[in-house]
């Protein structure tokens, strides 16, 4: 038994060359699976309910994928719809899919699997000791922070997706899902070894990133068989080697060969990777164990509003006295706004050229000839952030430090106006495991289109 899975790109909407996609379709895949999710862009996407990619890009990719899936009569699965995979993101994706289907004159059977977790269930699980943080620096969930959190999603495992596949859908739109899960479900539905299915999913979810040259914007193929799997890029110029494929599990994970997912731990320490043809690698020996089932919760909370300024500094005397000048600037702002509680705002300075990228982790403290300055005011309202930032900017621009010769101004602004009103800032307020008895419980499936229209 062989199962061939086509992964068009690392994130739906990143795009992929049509020539690669058409060449991959000629190899007769059994399913097209694409991951759309990531927390990499920070908490804003989940908190504000917006997508990672533009609607135009998502539609462009989905149009090609739906056309290919329909032509071959194979299912199309989307993991973590809309990026963050909350109801809002999933419905955004469904809307695009339905628009395309209408344009194609097609009425596909669509399974939508939601992944939103009721807050009261999280509090109950916490009382029952079924919640644990993903790492020690994750803040504890409190009733108050949870109340302020703008919806919580959980990464589904394969189980809800397997259930959806039983209904023979044309299209499956998953809410938030463990990245490899939608790939793994396709293989497991056809009886393949779960360890191989998850390991292949982990590789395919990033497009051709495991090949050389690698990219998340090209088409990858993976074929499961009875005792292993093989991977290759649709574009023969992208070559997989045993090392490139073995090393891929390093990417964005905390550990290179122990991978944890919903109800599983994948152990790749005994895998064999061998060249199985030009640019093609065969993998065997992936192992899996089944710890108590836990789903990973993700939630984002709005914490403040931001206004910021970009400016350059070229005067060497000012560059040598930044700390002193900035302290004085902050003091003058504090004294001007003595009617505003000091704990309701923060003023932060970031010095590119000095330690702008690494902050306290920066080992090299050599003074540069030029500084890229970013300063921001973080406050509990946008109006306050705007006002305090404007005062900080004018104080910094004109501050007369001892010995100053450049008495006309301290900052070179690249833009007018100089102050950028940024809007809300979010934080990941929930990033925890929740132990559950039933892997299906929080992931209801809704069916649309085709000849059925029901909620399972």
């Amino acid at each position: 038994m062989r199962t061939l899975i086509l992964s068009p790109c690392g994130i739906l909407g990143y795009g992929f060359p049509n020539e690669s996609f058409q060449a991959a379709l000629k190899q007769r895949p059994d399913a097209i699976v694409v991951d759309a999710g990531s927390t990499d862009a920070g908490p804003h996407k989940l908190g504000a309910g917006v997508a990672i990619v533009s609607r135009m890009a998502a539609k462009k990719d989905l149009s090609r994928l739906m056309e290919g899936a329909r032509r071959l009569g194979i299912p199309l699965l989307v993991g973590s719809s809309g990026g963050s995979g909350a109801r809002k993101h999933t419905m955004w994706t469904l809307d695009i899919v339905q628009e395309i289907a209408k344009e194609m004159g097609w009425d596909p059977r669509i399974a939508v699997i939601l992944a939103d977790i009721p807050k009261e269930d999280i509090l109950m699980a916490q009382r029952e000791g079924r919640i644990e943080p993903m790492s020690v620096n994750v803040p504890a969930i409190t009733e108050e922070t949870l109340k302020e959190t703008n919806g919580v999603v959980a990464q589904m495992g394969v189980e809800p997706i397997l259930r959806a596949l039983e209904g023979r859908p044309d299209i499956v739109l998953c809410g938030r899902a463990y990245d490899p899960a939608s790939f793994a479900a396709v293989g497991m539905a056809r009886g393949h070894d779960p360890a191989l299915c998850y390991h292949l999913g982990k590789i395919l979810e990033c497009g051709t990133l495991c090949a050389e040259p690698g990219t998340a914007k090209d088409v990858m193929l993976g074929q499961l068989d009875d005792d292993g799997f093989e991977v290759w890029a649709a574009d023969p110029r992208r070559k997989c080697t045993p090392t490139s494929v073995a090393a891929h599990t390093f990417y964005e994970k905390d550990h290179p060969y122990i991978l944890k997912g919903p109800g599983i731990v994948l152990d790749l320490s005994c895998c064999a990777f061998r060249q199985a043809g030009d640019g093609r690698v065969r993998v065997t020996g992936s192992r899996i164990t089944y710890p108590p089932y836990a789903i990973k919760l993700e939630g984002a909370r709005r914490v403040a509003y931001r206004t910021f300024v970009l400016a350059g500094i070229r005067d060497p005397m000012l560059i040598s006295r930044l700390d002193e000048v900035e302290e004085a600037v902050v003091r003058s702002v504090e004294s001007y706004y003595d009617d505003i509680p000091r704990d309701s705002y923060q003023i932060r300075f970031v010095h590119y050229g000095l330690d702008g990228v690494m902050g306290s982790l920066e080992p090299d403290r050599t003074l540069p000839h030029e500084i890229g300055l970013m300063f921001e005011v973080i406050a509990d309202t946008q109006e306050k952030a705007d006002a305090i930032c404007a005062t900080t900017r004018s104080a910094y621009l004109h501050y007369g430090y001892p010995g100053r010769k450049s008495t006309a101004g301290n900052l070179a602004f690249p833009f007018a106006p100089s102050d950028i009103s940024f809007g809300p800032v979010y934080v990941f307020s929930v990033y925890h495991l929740m132990y559950v008895d039933d892997p299906l419980r929080y992931f209801p499936i809704e069916w649309l289109g085709g000849d059925r229209n029901e909620t399972v």
């Binding site: 927390t39 920070g42 908490p43 620096n137 964005e252 290179p256 931001r306």
Partner: protein, 102 residues
């Protein structure tokens, strides 16, 4: 020789919003073995280089089939919130560059 010149890939990236992970990958087994055996890449050495407590390093593993070593540490500030400087954690590898490997 500098680690930068021996490594094929030298990168950092988020491993979730609360951790940053460093990957040092090699294209030939000789370079990999040379670095692995040098004793210069350890939990203690990385902690000193980044000026963080050893306890902040949550994972440290060599993976022979992938010719690489991975070090994961806790972020002071989670990705994309107030005070973060590198939302993707993609530019935190620089201190590794000049490590001298005998």
């Amino acid at each position: 020789m500098r680690l930068y010149d021996l490594a094929h890939v030298l990168r950092s990236k988020n491993s979730g919003p609360f951790e940053v992970t460093l990957d040092i990958l090699f294209s030939d087994p000789e370079a990999y073995e040379r670095v692995k055996k040098s004793g210069r890449i350890t939990r203690e050495a990385i902690a000193a280089l980044y000026r963080i407590p050893v306890s902040h390093i949550t994972d440290f593993a060599w993976y022979d089939p992938g010719l690489g070593v991975k070090i994961t540490f806790l972020r002071d500030t989670s990705s994309g919130t107030v005070g973060d400087r590198d939302v993707y954690g993609a530019q935190q590898h620089a201190p590794l560059i000049d490590l001298e490997i005998p």
